[in-house]
């Protein structure tokens, strides 16, 4: 009940990229997020000591303006410069199980980019968008995006 209330409040918040409320990312979160998207959405897995992540997020914002970008931090700690994201989560609990719930092939490399699409399987890439992700975005152009 309490969790549902928190979730409802979080969803009601306006999209403020840098000030987004941080929520726990648990074993079911990834599956839930896939059901919440209304259009292509970047879900970026980062770490506070990932030196490459800020530039990748900035480039995603530049290359894909208007596409929602959600962020998941996989470690504890403070970000050097909070990455701009409409929604934010942080791993809570068993890291290996959380990673496995996202993609069993993911070994924790960051940034890890999931392109969420309504009704379709997510597309994954390491470091920068893959050709498959870009092709999917091209195909989906013009359709409504998540907020």
């Amino acid at each position: 009940m309490h969790k549902a209330l928190v979730m409802a409040l979080a969803l009601a918040l306006p999209a403020l990229p840098c000030a987004a409320h941080e929520q726990p990312f648990g074993p079911q979160t990834f599956q839930q997020l896939q059901q919440q998207v209304h259009g292509p959405t970047w879900l970026v897995f980062s770490a506070t000591y990932c030196g490459n992540c800020p530039a990748v997020v900035a480039e995603l914002r530049r290359q894909h303006p208007g596409l929602p970008l959600w962020l998941v931090l996989t470690d504890e700690g403070e970000e050097a410069h909070p990455l701009p994201a409409e929604r934010r989560w942080r791993f809570e609990g068993h890291e290996l199980a959380l990673r496995h719930a996202v993609n069993p092939q993911w070994r924790g490399i960051t940034p890890y980019l999931a392109l969420l699409r309504p009704g379709q399987a997510p597309l994954f890439a390491l470091g920068q968008p893959s050709a498959a992700q870009l092709k999917a975005l091209e195909k989906a152009r013009g359709k409504p995006a998540s907020k």
């Binding site: 990748v56 890291e95 290996l96």
Partner: protein, 378 residues
């Protein structure tokens, strides 16, 4: 196969997981392990309250000695691991990274005891550089002459390049040497430019007592392979040829162990022709790759240890329900390998820490329930 009679399976920290194991913040499980000169196993790491603890044996760290680190915070997660070392005449050395006030920053700190660990002097910073920048992922070892060596990931050159408006790949590896058991240190010496920023460094002794290092390197333009160097000023050489071109943090450092024939066994994580895997390979005596490495696609956070012709590769593997601690063991310097499963865990867990005690090879593995010390037998 694993000799379970010799496996020390005690040390489970109670039947119920402590609260910190169940909820955020994520447990800081990275634990240092070392044998003392009498052959006793010691552990150092953060206990459930976040205090740095040291103890003999594998019972809970809370029941050991709490170390005074002053105002220091201690990093102990994943690749950021405290390091523990025993020397001659009661010398005990425990190093850790103190995260700085600003993210990405930190200093390598050292606690030093001269009475077998009964008392420690106040922590000191190991490097000369005092800028509030990255000095992290330290490696620490004694060479055959008893000199203490450190190496760490250091961003002073990156920061200087940024200030000058020049590009710079990755970070640097710096090192220093103490000839008095850590009482004082020589100058910071650059081992290499362009190391990966977020992976541990492997140290390993050669048969002649010299030390060598292996680390993830960023070769031009952005290939995150590995480099090898002796800690004597010789130039680094490329030690892996995956040609994994990526601008990302693998958070996976390599492992290095001497081969009986004078070369090296090495393991690392990377992508080769699009295939991600932990790879087990051979290097020649100068650290150059030999032959084709063996790929282990399901493995992560592997490490290597050897004693003569006996070699063990140990890694974690998660199957969706539990983590399995797996091993490959060779008795003939890597010509033939036998697969072993050393342990399983349903709980958050540390990377395996490998130790040699005489001719014995050990894996120490901590999860939120306790610590296991497992002798590895083929």
């Amino acid at each position: 196969m694993l000799n379970r009679r010799n496996a020390l399976l005690a040390g489970m920290a109670g039947l119920l997981a402590p609260a910190w194991a169940q909820k955020s913040p994520r447990p800081q499980l990275a634990t240092a392990a070392a044998f003392d000169p009498a052959g006793q196993l010691w552990l150092a790491g953060l206990d459930r309250t976040g205090q740095l603890g040291l103890r003999q044996g594998i019972a809970p760290l809370e029941e050991g000695q709490r170390l005074d680190v002053g105002e220091d915070r201690v990093a102990a997660d994943g690749e950021a691991t405290p390091r523990l070392l025993f020397g001659a005449d009661g010398l005990v050395l425990l190093s850790y990274v103190r995260p700085g006030a600003k993210p990405y920053t930190g200093d390598v700190r050292l606690l030093r005891s001269q009475d077998g660990g009964a008392r420690f002097a106040a922590a000191v910073t190991v490097h000369q550089d005092r800028q509030p920048i990255t000095h992290r992922f330290q490696a620490m070892a004694l060479d055959g002459a008893g000199h203490l060596h450190f190496a760490w990931i250091d961003k002073r050159d990156l920061e200087a390049a940024k200030a000058a408006g020049r590009p710079y790949r990755g970070a640097a590896v710096y090192r220093n040497v103490s000839t008095d058991g850590g009482a004082s240190f020589g100058p910071d010496i650059k081992l290499a430019d362009h190391a990966c920023e977020c992976c541990r460094i492997a140290f390993s002794p050669a048969a002649d007592g010299r030390l060598a290092a292996l680390w993830r390197h960023v070769f031009e333009p952005n290939e995150r392979d590995h480099a090898f160097a002796w800690l004597d000023g010789s130039a680094p050489v490329r030690a892996s040829l995956d040609r994994w071109a990526i601008d990302a943090c693998p958070h996976h450092g390599p492992g290095l162990a001497p081969a009986a024939d004078g070369g090296w066994h090495a393991c690392w994580y990377g992508q080769r022709a699009g295939e991600p895997a932990v790879r087990l390979g051979r290097l020649d005596a100068q650290g150059r790759p030999l032959g084709s490495p063996r790929a282990l696609p399901e493995a992560e956070h592997a490490d290597l240890i050897s004693a003569g012709g006996r070699v063990a590769l140990v890694w974690r593997q998660f199957d969706g329900r539990q983590t399995r601690l797996q091993a490959l063991m060779s008795k003939d310097d890597g010509r033939r390998w036998q697969a072993l499963e050393l342990a399983q865990s349903l709980h958050p867990n540390d990377h395996p820490r490998l130790l040699r005690q005489g001719e014995q090879l050990w894996a120490v593995w901590r999860d939120t329930q306790g610590v296991r010390a497992l002798e590895i037998h083929a």
